[in-house]
């Protein structure tokens, strides 16, 4: 395998080399003279009192098209006058308000919406040039003035429909079928780009769950075609790795992964790190390890907060001046070598620290720490996780999405809860520290209390509140987060053996497959497969100070086997029981490969573990799906 990338310069904080200085302050609205208001009661009260339509700009600090619109459309005098006189202008950062993004984003960023004063959507588009915006604002004003009552009537119908839906009887529960996993795989294979790797034609986005599913399901089912799809995609998408600083860009416009969009997001680094580490574990190919380290280099150098150890959200694509004017566009800048980049300045880093993406990074670090034998990553992850739980979690209010001046903002976002829950369970797996499991359980219980749909199962994306404005009043159960929630509760069941977690996972999965919405097929396939496939248990038996058993334990952690659970038992501590299995001890360290109901004969040498795992998988293939 040859990666199509030349790394012109390697520098690493971990290797003790120079750390480039980055600015960590990005504010929305640079380059625009619009008097933007925040989403909230003040803006809505003004819209109502002044009887004006709302212009909602859903934007992002890293978004190139948004910057351009600031410098053109929102700097245009005619647009400014129209907005000033006839509209209430609200600007929302998509990363700060995932709940608003879920309801108001269409297509991409920016999403430009015209709303009634009560927040219902009248019109939506993405980037608009000044003359188009002028026309839109003029016509919208005329339309609103002339047909206000009719528009309001139709808005009322929306709320009638929401109300009727809320009063409907409990939906029948669809049974889960193991064939859904293989059906997902079939769909993945149909969408696979066999020329360039990745899925579909263009643009090319990362599909981390599809790679996880390809490797994991292919591994369990011995499906070579699927595994090669995952590995080839990992190989080809390296075209989006920054050759100088490391870290992955956001996406490519072309099918062959060319013409990148250069912004770098924290979550993309986390998901890719996890997948490259998996590929390294699976194949032993050092190039995957190398790519993993290039991601870690970037995160530690650019996105790590030196004061708290937490992680910043993103790095911009362009180099901009203090007024937001683009000095060097990303396409030009990221083609330069390190010295020339230094001479041109730095793309800004959004210094906000969000709960969900920080959880993603700790989850990936914990996984990588073992496979790459980098204990520093475990230390870093635990530092961040401990801080997040201490500062951001209130069982009654839920997690806060971010902290501003030591005060939590936006509590109880489902996505934050699930991602931090996943990270806490990974921390428990890696460290064995029961505190992480207890925190994970407390978070899971808080999530049910705040967000679970008692009637139909599944979880809403944010808590209901009489103070919710606009479309926030619409209860929403997003498929992606609900599938992840089901996976979290299933894992809790495997870790605690408490049946209520299994029932919650089942109810949640059923509620997802029962809806007529299209589902992320790799993710739902993975969740259904996990539901039907018992996790592999690796039990290592030996005294605590026994070197041989520690070697067995280390090898057990190194083995690629998604969802595997590793435990060490000390014969001096009483009965060694896991699931329905009670392990014997014949005086020498051993490792057993099992499910919760059956075991193969023990192995005594670390190098025998892989072969015994293959035997177990073969036996499971013949009995499970």
């Amino acid at each position: 395998m040859k990666f199509q990338v030349i790394f012109s310069c390697i520098f690493s904080l971990l290797l003790g080399l120079e750390q480039p200085a980055f600015s960590h302050q990005v504010e929305l609205g640079h380059g625009s003279d619009v008097q933007w208001l925040d989403w909230g009661s003040t803006a809505f009260a003004r819209a109502k009192a002044e009887d004006k339509l709302i212009l909602l700009d859903l934007t992002a600090v890293w978004c190139h098209a948004c910057h351009l619109m600031d410098q053109t459309t929102y700097a245009d005098q005619q647009v400014l006058t129209l907005l000033q006189e006839n509209f209430i202008a609200i600007r929302v950062d998509t990363d700060q308000r995932p709940d608003l993004e879920a309801r108001y984003r269409t297509g991409g960023w920016p999403t430009t919406s015209l709303l009634l004063p009560t927040g219902e959507i009248l019109f939506q588009a993405n980037s608009l040039e000044p003359e188009v915006m002028v026309k839109l604002l003029q016509e919208a004003k005329v339309l609103y003035d002339s047909e206000k009552e009719d528009l309001q009537q139709q808005a009322d119908q929306l709320w009638d429909r929401v109300k009727v839906h809320g009063q409907k009887n409990e939906s029948p529960r669809a049974p889960l079928r193991s064939s859904m996993a293989s059906h997902s795989v079939d769909m993945m294979k149909r969408e696979y780009d066999s020329v360039n790797g990745g899925f579909r034609n263009h643009p090319k986005f990362f599909e981390p769950e599809a790679i996880q599913m390809a490797l994991g399901y292919g591994f369990f089912e011995n499906d070579e075609e699927l595994i090669n799809m995952g590995l080839m995609t990992l190989e080809r998408q390296v075209a989006l790795l920054d050759p100088v600083w490391g870290g992955f860009y956001r996406y490519a416009e072309k099918a062959d992964w060319s013409q990148p969009h250069f912004e770098k997001m924290l979550t993309i680094q986390a998901q890719n790190l996890h997948n490259y580490v998996s590929a390294y574990q699976y194949t032993g190919n050092a190039e995957y390890k190398y790519i993993s380290k290039r991601i870690i280099d970037f995160v530690e150098k650019v996105l790590a907060d030196p004061q708290t150890g937490q992680f910043f959200e993103s790095q911009d694509a362009d180099v901009r001046d203090q007024d937001g004017q683009t000095l060097v566009a990303g396409a030009k800048y990221f083609s330069l070598n390190m010295i020339d980049r230094k001479a041109r300045g730095r793309p800004l880093v959004d210094g906000r620290i969000y709960t969900g993406s920080n959880a993603d990074m700790t989850w990936a670090y914990l996984y990588a720490a073992q496979a790459l034998e980098m204990p520093i990553l475990k230390k870093r992850a635990i530092q961040v996780l401990t801080r997040m739980v201490a500062e951001r979690f209130d069982p009654e209010k839920g997690l806060s999405h971010e902290e501003v001046n030591s005060s939590g903002k936006l509590h109880g976002i489902l996505s934050d809860h699930i991602r931090l829950g996943m990270a806490l369970l990974e921390a428990f797996r890696v460290t064995g520290d029961i505190q992480f499991l207890q925190n994970g359980e407390a978070l899971a219980q808080s999530t049910q209390l705040l967000l679970e749909d008692d009637k139909d199962g599944g979880f809403f994306d944010r808590p209901d509140s009489p103070e919710n404005l606009g479309l926030l009043k619409i209860p929403t159960k997003p498929a992606r987060e609900n599938i992840q929630a089901a996976r979290l509760y299933l894992e809790l069941f495997h870790l605690t053996n408490q049946d209520e977690y299994r029932l919650t996972a089942e109810r949640t999965l059923q509620s997802v497959v029962n809806t007529p919405q299209p589902l992320p097929i790799a993710l739902i396939g993975m969740a259904v497969d996990e539901w039907f496939r018992p996790p592999v248990h690796i039990a290592v038996i030996g005294m605590s100070d026994d070197e041989e058993s520690n070697v067995l334990l280390a090898e057990a952690h190194q083995l690629y086997c998604p969802g595997k659970m590793v435990k060490k038992f000390n014969p001096n501590n009483g009965t060694m029981k896991w699931g329905e299995i009670v392990f014997p001890y014949d005086g020498k360290p051993a490792a057993f490969l099992c499910t919760d109901k059956m075991c193969l004969a023990p192995v005594y040498q670390a190098e025998e573990l892989k072969g015994r795992l293959d035997e177990l998988l073969k036996a499971l293939r013949e009995t499970v799906l």
Binding site: I121, F123, M187, P516, Q517, L519
Partner: protein, 96 residues
Amino acid sequence: MSILRIPIFFCIYTFNDHISLIHRLVELKGLRHGPNGPIYGCFLDTFFLFLIYTEVGAVIRSYQGCLSESGRDKESSLISLTSKLFINPRQRNEIS
């Protein structure tokens, strides 16, 4: 050109059509298009997507879902559920 009052086109596409159409619009009109997310699919029979777009190619709204054999009811309930309201009285009948 009028943005709010031009006829809109109301189309039903299969999944693959949707992807290629969106990309074609991006290419032809230079529209900025964000992530279209992971591969989506259905365990029911058909993936559908309604695109409502203007003559300049801007996608105003999209509704997507899955249909079973007797899927018309599901389709209308999905649109109710989606609940992102596009209001233009003169075009409303074409949507519903």
